[in-house]
Amino acid sequence: AQSVSQHNHHVILSEAASLELGCNYSYGGTVNLFWYVQYPGQHLQLLLKYFSGDPLVKGIKGFEAEFIKSKFSFNLRKPSVQWSDTAEYFCAVNSHGSSNTGKLIFGQGTTLQVKP
C-alpha cells in the first residue's frame, strides 16, 4: 500500500533559522507531490506542488522542495523561518494510474514552532 512518512513530528526553531522537513513516500510509479500547510485555526493550504520537470520547485512564502526520485523523497526547505511560519505541515502524494481519481495520501504531519 502507498504511504507517506514524515520523519519530524515536532520541530522547534528560532526565527531566521533554516528549515528542512523530511518526506518519503512508497510508490513505484509516477506521482504528484504536494506540501500543504495548516496555520492555527485555518484550513489546509497548498504550499507547493510537483508533477514533472525541474525537481526543485518553489512555492509560496519562500518555501521550496526538492524531488529526489531515487530516494522517494520530497523534502521541504526554507532558508530563514519567521514566527508566522508556525503551523502544521503535511506532505501528500497522488499516484498516477489507470484509476487515478486524485486521491491524496497524507503523511501524519510535522508541527513547526518558531520562537521569536
Partner: protein, 115 residues
C-alpha cells in the same frame, strides 16, 4: 471567488446517531473529495464524487456514505456513530482534468465530536 465551504462548523452527536455534513465546492470545480483528520494525524481519504457517482473509496466502512448533487455540492453521511468517528472532516474540491492531475482545494472542515 468563493472557496470551498462546509457546514456546520461544529457538531456534537451521541454514539449510535447519524450525521450529515455538507460541502459546496469552489466555483468552477466539479469533483468533491472527503477526508477524515483525527487529532494529531494527517487527513485520510474517505471517498471522491464526480458526476454524482462515487469514483474511489478509501478504507472506510459502509457506515460512511455520500452523495453529490447536480450543482456539484456534496454530503457526507455517517450512520451508527462511534466514539472513534470524532474528527475533523474535510471537503476538498477539484476540477477533473483529462491529464489525470487534480489540484485539490480544501474547506475549513467540520469538527465532529461523538460522546
Amino acid at each position: 471567488d468563493a472557496g470551498v465551504t462546509q457546514s456546520p462548523t461544529h457538531l456534537i452527536k451521541t454514539r449510535g446517531q447519524q450525521v450529515t455534513l455538507r460541502c459546496s465546492p469552489k466555483s468552477g470545480h466539479d469533483t468533491v473529495s472527503w477526508y477524515q483528520q483525527a487529532l494529531g494525524q494527517g487527513p485520510q481519504f474517505i471517498f471522491q464524487y464526480y458526476e454524482e457517482e462515487e469514483r474511489q473509496r478509501g478504507n472506510f466502512p459502509d457506515r460512511f456514505s455520500g452523495h453529490q448533487f447536480p450543482n456539484y455540492s456534496s454530503e457526507l453521511n455517517v450512520n451508527a456513530l462511534l466514539l472513534g468517528d470524532s474528527a475533523l472532516y474535510l471537503c476538498a474540491s477539484s476540477l477533473r482534468e483529462t491529464s489525470g492531475f487534480y489540484e485539490q482545494y480544501f474547506g475549513p472542515g467540520t469538527r465532529l465530536t461523538v460522546t
